[in-house]
Symmetry: C2
Subunit: 309 residues, 2 copies
């Protein structure tokens, strides 16, 4: 997984780590595990609806973060795979429900029709519910070579990250803030640290719990995730202004048109770039003590600021 | 909790057990536990929406079954209370999502406006998601004096009962059967054993798991719940035809008007009554070896056929 000839490798301590190859390999592992996680049985329609969105592609960043964090803390890919799949199930549930007419009312996601456009709103609601509860069943029933106490900790951590104290709470504040471009930095931070940050944090913390990591490592994982999560959002906001439509694969300047509260609107473009880089540096700083085993997580952090779409 | 003067006590081996007093006492315990399970914090709206439906009353039959089964198997109320609360959270989630315009489109439940009529569809969807995930967090984080392995078993059991292999799957087949009064007995059984039966089964099985019951007891609990679950539905169908509107508290004859598939339509009224009683007898038969400790579950089974609304 190490290479010196990858022109796209980020600079710095992970310059010899080939992130692109690593992501491709891990993505294939996750894709295979997800595909076999959910066989179709009677009543077929609900399983097909769940699979339609679960297997609709995507970077699989959340499962990959979980696997990487488990390996960093001395565990194996096998230990973390059921949790990694569960994280993607939960993420998929949030997208299905988010796309519903009563929420964001989106017809397309990743170039495919959204779940409710294919299966109807009733089935889409139930497919989300089915994926959310299956995530917990999958962890509880399939995790191997990890003590029950640790698996229970993982379930508590994931459940909290998805609920009103995490993702759901972030979505509520996001809904309340719609059409209010002048919301405060505190509220904007709350939305992003909860709507996307909490689940990213659960990814790396759960991976480390499964490996039996000590409390200090878990705290480092938390801070790493909080920092890359916020940096990711700032870069997203920046790219909406600076990237071309071609690079972005979607309409550029959407945030400005929608009068959306963004970090560049709060801080200006230059200051936003500086803050994003500071967050990435801080995230990488948390991993300094882990040596080469931290290469994947360091490279993923770097990728966030160097990406152009 | 025993009394000889209750005129409404069912006949037979539990004739001296005062079910009405028992239910009132247990309901008060559950109500208090639910009330303190979910404090309101920022963002208040989502917690208020979750509490609005969670604390909207009801018989609390599911938590009470869980507590009774745990005590029957030698456990305590304290061991089972977090799971009992979680069962009600999950049940509440299913009601909130079921009432949505895209599903049954109900404006009222138990005489109160449904969740989406008060908080909006978006918040109602999120309140359901929040309750579902909080149920798992609550079990994982609050269960005391039970081994982690058993708690994990409870989580797997509950998750399966709610998902596509249980409640969600039952709802899908129910939706597919709408407007088809001539569906087969097999399909009608599937709907009821999944839409309501699976969660009832989880109630008593989880209670027994928490108490450390052996596999034979767990199987008896499963069969008890499957039998009372189906009997409950048959009696519901019968009452829709025979009860007066006053007794029912809702429009009588709704099923016939809606051309709904029911057991009396399949079997006739008299045969339906016979089958319901056979199921109740079978349910009580599963409890014969447990002596007095089985009184609450026996009385609850009897109550199903003697109720008039």
């Amino acid at each position: 997984m190490l290479a010196t000839d990858d022109l796209h490798a980020p600079k710095g301590e992970s310059a010899t780590f080939d992130l692109s190859t690593y992501l491709t390999q891990q993505q294939a592992l996750v894709e295979a595990a997800l595909d076999s996680s959910l066989p179709v049985t009677y009543p077929e329609k609900i399983y097909e609806a769940m699979r339609y969105s679960l297997l609709a592609g995507g970077k699989r960043l959340r499962p990959i973060l979980c696997l990487a964090s488990c390996e960093l803390a001395g565990g194996t890919v096998e230990m973390a795979m059921p949790t990694a799949c569960a994280l993607e199930m939960v993420h998929t549930m949030s997208l299905i429900h988010d796309d519903l007419p009563a929420m964001d009312n989106d017809d397309y996601r990743r170039g495919k029709l959204t779940n409710h456009k294919v299966y109807g709103e009733d089935i889409a609601i139930l497919a989300g519910d089915g994926l959310l509860t299956y995530a917990f069943e999958f962890i509880a029933s399939n995790t191997q070579n990890v003590s029950a106490a640790r698996v229970l900790q993982v379930i508590a951590q994931l459940a909290k990250a998805v609920g009103a104290a995490g993702l759901v709470g972030g979505q509520v504040v996001d809904l309340e803030s719609e059409g209010k471009p002048d919301i405060q930095e505190e509220t904007l931070n709350f939305i992003h640290t909860h709507k996307t940050g909490a689940l990213l944090e659960a990814c790396v913390v759960c991976g480390a719990i499964l490996a039996g990591a000590e409390s200090e490592t878990l705290q480092r994982m938390s801070r790493y995730a909080q920092n890359i999560g916020l940096a990711f959002q700032i870069v997203d906001d920046i790219l909406d202004i600076t990237a071309t439509q071609e690079e972005l694969g979607k309409t550029a300047g959407k945030d400005i048109q929608a009068q959306k509260a963004t970090y560049p609107r709060l801080w200006g473009l230059e200051e936003s770039k500086v803050k994003a880089q500071q967050l990435i540096d801080a995230a990488k700083g948390e991993l300094a003590t882990f040596g080469e085993k931290a290469n994947p997580l360091i490279a993923i952090a770097d990728f966030i600021t160097t990406r152009t779409h």
